[in-house]
Each structure stands twice: as C-alpha cells, then as structure tokens.
Symmetry: C2
Subunit: 354 residues, 2 copies
DNA sequence: ATGAAAGCGCTAACAG
DNA sequence: CTGTTAGCGCTTTCAT
C-alpha cells in the first residue's frame, strides 16, 4: 500500500496529533528508497553526497526522528545497557553521570530503572530485561548474591559499589581498605596516635573499611589503641557514635568515619559539645560527596574515583559482550585522600613541638 | 579501556548465549498458536483456562519474557511516559518514587532520562522522544519556555515543580506562596515580629516564595520589617546568607529559608556563631527533604506533597492522552507545615511572659 | 550507488 | 475459544 505523506486524516473529530514521520515518509519526500534513507540516517557509507544531502533535508523538514524501538527490534544487538540505581542515594547520581559519558564513548545507550521504596530491585531488573538490554550494571545492589548470579545466565552483569564474590559476576568497586590506609597514614603523619573508627553498621563496605583501619594501625604499631564504634550511614548514626566517642575513657584525638554523611553527624555533635575541629579532634570521612565539599564543612575525606568506577563498569559490560573476556572478575579502583579542613595536628603534639 | 591480553574469540568458540525465547517458541512448546500465547501473556480475556495454564507453563519453562520493544512497536500506543530528572536533586528522587506508583495505577510505564552535568535537558528529552513516549513529565526543567512549548506540538508535556505560564503546557506545582504564609503565620503565632527571608537566587520558585513571604508579613501588619537576603539552593548559599543575617543592624528573631539544604547552611553558621536555635533564632526550611528529618537537625519546614504532585502529574499526562482535556492548565498543590525543633518563641517574647 | 524484499517479535483484525 | 494473517518502522541481504 502506498501511504502518502502525513495527509491521511481518518479520525476527523479529535484534534489529531500528526502521526510522526517514518523512514518511508522521508524516502517519499526525498524521492529515494527507504533503504537509502536508512543508510543516510545511520551515517554509514553507501550513499552519494548528493542523496545524503537531499535525504537530510527531507528528514529535517519533516522533523523526522528514528524510532529506537523499531531500530532495536530489527538489529540483533540493542546496544543498550540497563542500569539500576537507588533514588535515595545521592552517590548513585554521581555514578549515573559518569555512566552516561562512558556509555556514549563506547557507543551504547543507557536504560535507567530506579529502585524506590515501592519498587524493589527485582522489578527494576525485570523491566530492564524486557527492554532487551544486552548487559546490566547494578549500582549498590542489595539482592542476594544467588539472585545476581542467576541473572548472569541471561546476560552479563556488572556490580558497582558492592563487594560480592562470585565467579560469574563482574564487580567494580573502590579499594576501601586502601582508602582507610591513606586516612590513617595521614593522621599518623600529623602526629596522632589515638585514632578511633566509626563503622557503617550493615552497609556494604563496612567490613572492608574496618579491616583497612585495623591493618593501618597495626602497621604503625598502634594496634592496641584501636577503637571501633558502631555507626551507620546516616547523620543520626554519626551523632550517636560521636556521643559514644566523647564518653570514652581515654579520648582519641582523631576519628575515621564510614562515610561523609555519618561524619557530618559526628561533626555536629563535636561542635555541640564545644569541641573545636581539628584542634580537639580530627575527622575523616569517606566518599567525597557534595556534603563534604561544602565550604562550611570542608571535610577531609577519602574520595571514590567515580570516573574510573563508571568507565570500568561500562568497559566490563562491553568487554563481556564483545567476548573479550577478562580473566579477572573484580576491578578495584584506588581512592585518594582529599585533605580539607577537618584534620590537623593533635593539640598535644602541637604543644610538644613548641 | 583495558582490553589487554585477551585474544579475540571468534563467534564459534564463544560460549554462545542462548537466543531468548520468543512468542513462537512458547507457542510451539505449548502446542498452540502465537496469537493465543499473546492473549495469555497480556492477560486479556479470550483463552480457556486450560490453554492459559499450558501456555504459562511453557513460558515458565522457557524463561520467556515479552519483548517490550516489539510490543510497543506493534501497538499504536506505547503506554510509555517519559520522565526527565536531575541527578543532582534529591527531591527528584522522591518524585520518581511517586511517579512510578501513579503510572502503574494508570497502566503506564515510565521511561527515565537523567539530566547530568554532561547531559543537558535537550538530550534527555530527545532520547525519550526516540523511545516513542506518548507524553513527557519534566521535573524542574530549566529549558526556556519557548522550547517546552514547542515540544507540546509533538506530545503532551507536564512540567512539575516549576512555574511556567503557557497555554499549551500543563503545570503541576506546589502552592509556594501558601507555604510561606503557613511558615510566617506559625512564626507570628509564636510571637515573632522581626522575620527575615533568604531567597533561592535563580532557582525556580524563588519569586513565588518571596512573594508569599511578603504577603504574609503584610497581612500581619509587618510589611515594613521585611528583609530579603539573597540566597540559593545549596548549603553554602545558606551559610553566606546567614552571615549577612547576623550582620544586620537590627537582628531578626526568625528566618524563613528558600529550601532545606540552604537552611542547613544557615543553621550551621548560627551554631558556629554561638547562637542557639530556636532560642536566639527560629529557622524554617522548605521541601521536607531527608535532611530536614534528621533528628539532630529536626528542621521545621514546609513539606511539599509529593504524592499529590506525582499523582496529578500522571493524571494530567494521561488526561491529555485520553482527550479528556481539562480546561485548567495549572494544578497547584497546597503544602503543609511540619513543625520540628528549629522554631520556638523569641527570647524577648519569652522574657515578657515571665 | 540505489532499490526491492524479507523479516525482527509482537498485536490485532478477522475467520473458523 | 483458537488459528491465520497482515503489518508496526526499521535494518539488511541481495539484486540491479
């Protein structure tokens, strides 16, 4: 059937929105075949400069936009990577930013699916699967490893920012322990010898960061001074932990905290108790989120390298799809310490140097 | 990308991922036609209980998942609503949560497209358009109204959380002015008579909230005491404004702030200056984001009704699609005041009552 | 360089 | 209730 351009108005009554133009419309207008238009639209070689121009012109006039659904349906590979993220987690926002650029460079598109209080990870993943994603990147997933592992039988899965050990799962994460080494080394270099740690409760990464803290103290011969206080990932958790910190018999002069949000709570309580930071207490966070960068907080913190994290995550996903399978399943990205205003020499050490 | 040592594996030896099953596969396995399978999978009437069971069984065994692209391509209506959101804005996360449930109830799916520092709104919208969304919901868009208006010639557009006036645009927003009335009324009831306001700089909603502040003061006969300090949406903006506040000749006893993040910065500076909140200064924020709810902040704030906001946004979009066109283009949702710990009677008033 | 034609996986008439 | 059939808009041989 020859369908003219967008002139056929069948339903007369409703203010009918014009049907969006298709390849055929553009072809008709440019006086060429649909195949040729397809070639031009994809920017692949196989069309003369002249028809290329004519087609582009026609497409422009019609306001033509390729239909990605149809395109994807036809071509075997969708060049689509599915991403799940938590709406509650600001850090995931930073990761999304990096993922978009990394995916674009690799010639892939992203399909987003949010995990919300009313929409669990399973549903988020299911919708991605329906969209024919070729691979999945899961940001801080909390599903059981067994479920994630099962997913890999369907498509490549890359887990970001959560340490899971499974032979079928790719993991891209920050070297949490190393980050704590950097934090402790910095404090020791400043002259601190009584350094406490506030951990992350049940959050992923807690164990690893705590281990890093202990290792670092050990290396400095300070193992017996280690104090680990229960914490969590919120400001409130930090506030609670800070009170415990202040109640300690022999008060530390510095504290490393599981993350920046928690550290903010700590700072708050310290200030409230009339202590000065860093004079009376040095504080180091983890993540370098927007909170830490605020000038009036100026938190010294261990910064996760989101650019590397996201670039590697996409590289992994694409690698699996290409079949250029890397042997190593886990990519660990070193973080780096960002020194701001919440760390300094301890009062005693300062006194001694005078 | 580190593709190093891995030799390129040829098609043949690559562990070939099984092609995902199609309707035809399920049909073959169940011994019925594809049409019947389609009927069963969509859950529409027109199949016997027996074949329904057989088909479901076959689908299950094959791990069949309908291909939404193909499905959408075929049916004229995609039942897809596109949503753009800012990855920097925590409040958008809350809105997404509501949108998902509202869309589901209306029988629509959501297609998400993020606006990031490296991906502007235009691109976010373009990708949604390619995905054949039937309508667009834009969260706090910052594109010029002319661009948004032009979009409506292609499909219905609902703007959330930004006040734009245009006859072709649906807008769902909070009654910002009313919210400020509530805030000011609350402070006046507590006995405050010198109330300042810190505005939102160039952020959407700034003018409206400032207007509300002025109106409310006026109604209480306090118009001549109005003080508006330039602010913004970040903690730093709040900190800066707070310093200006403290430097004021005749210091106010209370301040309403453009949003919670900004208010947090204000609180911080106040505490740093040795002031006690609310004894020396009452503070009210706007948004009721997670920040405000933290126990050690406990910010009194004007809460936006995200549930209503999102429900109305979806209702609007669907309404335009249905042709059940509402006359009114703007839906304004009343917010409500959440009183926490940062507001109280002013010291002077308290002294007088004794 | 260009065009004709065959589907991708699915839905929606229309028969039976 | 079930099957047949014709496309949705696009890519992709395979001719010309």
């Amino acid at each position: 059937m020859i369908r003219g351009y967008c002139v056929d108005v069948t339903e007369a009554e409703r203010p009918n929105r014009p049907r969006r133009p298709t390849l055929a419309d553009v072809a008709a207008r440019a006086g060429v075949s649909v195949a040729l238009v397809s070639i031009v639209m994809r920017g692949v070689p196989g069309a003369s400069a002249d028809s290329r121009r004519r087609v582009m012109e026609a497409a422009d006039e019609l306001g033509y936009r390729p239909d990605s659904r149809a395109r994807l349906l036809r071509s075997s590979n969708s060049r689509l990577i599915g991403v799940t993220f938590g709406v509650q987690h600001p850090f995931h926002g930073d990761l999304l930013t990096g993922l978009y650029t990394a995916a674009e460079e690799a010639g892939y598109e992203l399909a987003l699916s949010a995990v919300t209080p009313g929409r669990d990870e399973g549903r988020a993943v299911a919708s991605l699967l329906q969209d024919r994603c070729e691979a999945l990147i899961l940001l801080g997933p909390h599903s059981p490893t067994s479920y994630l592992a099962e997913l890999t039988t369907r498509l490549p899965v890359v887990v970001v920012a959560r340490a899971v050990r499974h032979r079928a799962l790719d993991v891209v994460r920050t070297a949490d322990a190393l980050g704590m080494h950097q934090a402790v080394d910095h404090l020791v270099a400043l002259g601190h010898s009584r350094i406490a740690h506030i951990d992350g409760g049940r959050a992923p990464g807690t164990a690893e960061r705590r281990r890093g803290y202990r290792e670092a103290l050990d290396r400095h011969g300070l193992a017996d001074t280690a104090v680990v206080l229960p914490g969590g990932l919120t400001e409130d958790d930090g506030a609670t932990a800070a009170r415990a910190l202040l109640a300690l018999r022999q008060r530390p002069t510095a504290v490393t905290v599981f993350n920046d949000r928690c550290a903010t709570g700590v700072l708050d309580v310290l200030h409230g108790a009339g202590l000065s930071v860093p004079r009376d207490m040095s504080v180091i966070g983890f993540d370098d989120d927007r909170l830490a960068r605020l000038s009036h907080i100026a938190l010294t913190t261990v910064a996760q390298d989101t650019e590397q994290l996201t670039a590697q995550a996409v590289a992994r996903a694409v690698g699996r799809l290409d079949g250029t399978t890397a042997a190593e399943r886990e990519v660990v990205i070193p973080p780096h310490l960002v020194v701001r205003a919440t760390t300094g020499a301890p009062m005693q050490a300062f006194a001694e140097t005078i």
